[in-house]
Amino acid sequence: MLSPADLPPSFLHPECRAKPAQISIQDFNLWYGKSQALFNINLPILQHEITSFIGPSGCGKSTLLRSINRLNDLIDNVTVGGDIRMGERSVYERHLDVTSLRKRIGMVFQKSNPFPMSIYENICYPLRISGINQRSTLDEAVETSLRSAALWEEVKDRLKRSALDLSGGQQQRLCIARAIAGNPEVLLMDEPCSALDPISTAKIEELILEMRGRFTVVIVTHSMAQASRVSDLTAFFYLGRLIEAGPTQRLFENADCKATQDYISGRFG
């Protein structure tokens, strides 16, 4: 009988190191209180590629994602070990300005969470908190990001209306527009389609594909099909450990680890 401690060591395909890493996760451990949620994660996230995190519920993929922009700081009793580096600097550096880090990393959440303001103000929010209030700059940013999020044509006549009047799919695209309005380098997406219908999901997947080459995208997903459709690289997590990471096609067609094969072929999870 195998216990979690007997899991095979993480297997990183050489393609994961083919390019310079934008973010590199090094020996990363995380505890909620006394229970450990992440175990010795080592994973480079390549620049301008789309990386997806897959794995069964509770395997720590969302936790790892939220560790990258230190959103876990909001939760009491979280301790971390190891390091996540973005460029030359550590994300967990003692005197790091967390807000400026988060400005470089956009985030889209599982449940669309537009602010209770107008569509226009929602997009402006990341700019306004950085002290940008110039009308022309804001107008331009709103149009650019809404176009990037394929929402411009639908909302251009009602920018002053409440964002809460939009449909679920539109709200999620608005959140994407908001996340990229501040021109971040990295975009973190935490199951962005799990609450959406298939058509909205397709639209958002299209958006993600368009972002390849412009942003470094990390997407957590429950849908294997989605991971295979949108991502260049896939990382499979299980019980807080990284089991295997490599090119998506390779993982889905011929994974090296038995556990990955079983998960992807739907034999558990």
């Binding site: 009988m1 988060r102 959440f109 209770p116 809460l164 449909s167 038995k258």
Partner: protein, 572 residues
């Protein structure tokens, strides 16, 4: 397949299989009980619904009583004439009750009749057996006269010379009254305008003189300077006195014109009294007016009630100062309680580390809501008036001492005391509102790179605003109705001036004020005759209730606007 994976899968399958089964069982149990004894839950529904209906009916009844009594107090009732024991009783029939006849010692229904005419040797109130009232006459020629002094008069209005006295017709009376009102308005304009200004500036000169003497004593200015300044002030004073004398003379002239125009009031008992026409505020013949005139009179009296100052130890006239005082104090309290309460709650919920100390503070805040309001009053007078206020007087109003300025009760201290009393409500509801702000919104804001303060200010607080408004509504409702702490911190039976006037600095927060709640208490329990002040008590009560409703209405309106804005139409 890995054995551990199978184990995991088995465990999951087991839990998936089990949980619904348990739920299912429970559901069956509930349903079977309901179907076996279908009526089991029904009595409770009826009991709860009955309780709700009872409360609603009680509230409706309370409102009904207050409003009907208040309407009756302002309504121009007709006057009846009844013969009783060789005496003519003329007056307004009021409430009916069961009482004992003094002669026959029998129980009988009787009506209270208000005869007015206090200064004509007539009892203001008398009882008439209800049976007699049925055939009562309603003479059309009788007048009901509201006077500035001595209360209402019921009887006839005649020309001033008693030897050749004849009844005055309606048109002449109304002309007399209107002209007198115009003269009164002119007088008032002088007294409240230039004359009041002069008095204020003369008081200022007196204080300036005192200040110069003080500075001289402490050696801050030389004797020559002091003498020069004194001379300057004396010159101003002489000028002021001159214009004062001029104005006083003008007032005297107007008064003498006023005094010359007289009428005679002839009471039903034959006594008469000649008074200046200006003593009459309103006169009408209650038995000869039609319903439209009656309505007109009713609204006229209603307007006088809310817009005029009280007369006759508050038992007559209006309640404007009390109305103004109540609203001003409540608004002032809102200005204090809202920022302090919200900031406290924000600190406790958003900034402070949750732990023993914060819990302790939270319990203390909740307990504050249970402290008797009179205790707040005692604290208010001790802390605000006698400590803070006295210190302010020492520092800034030295020249007025020993007369206190801030060192005694005033509208500022009263509203601060009430703010203290109501701050727990605001804190508790703000905390609840902050807790209810979804975590996802905060995360979205932090995810954009916002700081804690930016998130709080831009996202959390606006979203919590409707909840804060709820707390504010509760606080306001409580503050408007509270009287006990005001007794000590600045409420008076009759305030000489409003807290707002045309003299610099226009808003005088140190002034004592009148309050409707206290007004009701004072009228109902401290006045010469409870029977006489009863209508005013009800009228004031309905006005107070109306203010509470009005203030709440505004707050609720604001809250629903906020809700609309922050929750959108298409909810999540």
């Amino acid at each position: 397949m890995f054995p551990f994976l199978r184990k995991q899968a088995d465990a999951q399958a087991a839990s998936k299989g089990n949980q619904p089964a348990v739920l299912f069982k429970t559901a069956i149990r509930i349903r079977s009980r309901a179907s076996h004894n279908a009526t089991e839950g029904v009595p409770w529904i009826w009991v709860c619904a009955g309780a709700l209906v009872t409360i609603l009916l009680l509230i409706a009844a309370l409102f009904g009583v207050i409003i009907s009594q208040a309407t009756s107090a302002l309504w121009p009732h007709s006057v009846v004439r009844i013969q009783q024991d060789q005496q003519t009783v003329i007056g307004v029939a009021m409430r009916q009750e069961e009482g004992t006849d003094p002669q026959t010692n029998e129980r009988q229904m009787r009506r209270l009749v208000y005869q007015a005419n206090r200064d004509f040797g007539i009892n203001e109130f008398t009882f008439i057996p209800s049976a007699k009232l049925a055939g009562a006459e309603r003479p059309a020629s009788l007048w009901f006269v509201e006077r500035r002094e001595w209360g209402p008069f019921i009887g006839r209005i005649q020309t001033a010379d008693p030897a050749t006295a004849i009844d005055i017709d309606e048109k002449t009376v109304s002309n007399l009254v209107n002209e007198a009102a115009m003269r009164a308005a002119e007088l008032r304009k002088i007294e409240k305008g230039p004359l009041a200004d002069l008095n204020a500036s003369m008081e200022e000169i007196r204080l300036d003189k005192k200040k110069i003497e003080r500075l001289l004593e402490t050696g801050k200015i030389s004797e020559d300077d002091a003498a020069a300044k004194h001379a300057e002030l004396d010159k101003q004073l002489t000028e002021s006195l001159k214009s004062h004398a001029f104005l006083t003379e003008k007032v005297q002239q107007l008064r003498s014109v006023d005094e010359a125009i007289k009428v005679t009031l002839l009471a039903p008992n034959g006594q008469s009294k000649t008074i200046p026409a200006s003593q009459i505020m309103r006169a009408y013949q209650p038995n000869s007016i039609n319903i439209i005139q009656r309505m007109g009179l009713f609204f006229g009296r209603l307007w006088s009630f809310v817009s005029e100052e009280p007369r006759e130890a508050n038992t007559e006239g209006g309640v404007f100062p009390a109305l103004f005082g109540t609203v001003a104090m409540t608004i002032l309290m809102t200005l204090f309680v809202l920022p302090v309460g919200v900031m406290t709650a924000v600190y406790m919920r958003e900034i402070a580390k949750q732990g023993f100390l914060v819990s302790l503070v939270r319990i203390a805040v909740n307990n504050l809501a249970g402290v008797p309001s009179i205790v707040y009053g005692v604290f208010g007078v001790g802390f605000f008036c006698y400590s803070v206020g006295a210190t302010i007087d020492q520092l800034f109003f030295q020249d007025k001492l020993p007369n206190p300025t801030f060192g005694t009760g005033g509208v500022l201290w009263a509203s601060l005391t009430l703010a203290l009393l109501t701050v727990p409500v605001v804190i508790v509801s703000t905390e609840e509102a902050l807790t209810a702000v979804p975590r996802s919104l905060r995360e979205a804001s932090y995810g954009c790179g916002a700081t804690r303060m930016q998130t709080l200010w831009n996202i959390v607080l606006p979203k919590a605003m409707p909840g804060v408004m709820t707390g504010l509504i509760l606080a306001m409702a409580r503050a408007v109705g509270e009287v006990a702490p005001l007794l000590m911190t600045g409420v008076v039976k009759l305030a000489p001036a409003l807290p707002v006037d045309t003299h610099f600095p226009f808003i005088h927060l140190e002034r004592s004020f009148m309050h409707l709640g206290f007004h009701i208490y004072d009228l109902g329990f401290q006045s010469r005759s409870t029977e006489l002040s009863r209508p005013m008590v009800f009228a004031s009560t309905s006005l107070l209730v109306a203010i509470v409703l009005f203030l709440n209405f505004i707050a609720i309106k604001i809250r629903s606007e906020l809700r609309k804005r922050f929750e959108g139409r298409g909810a999540f």
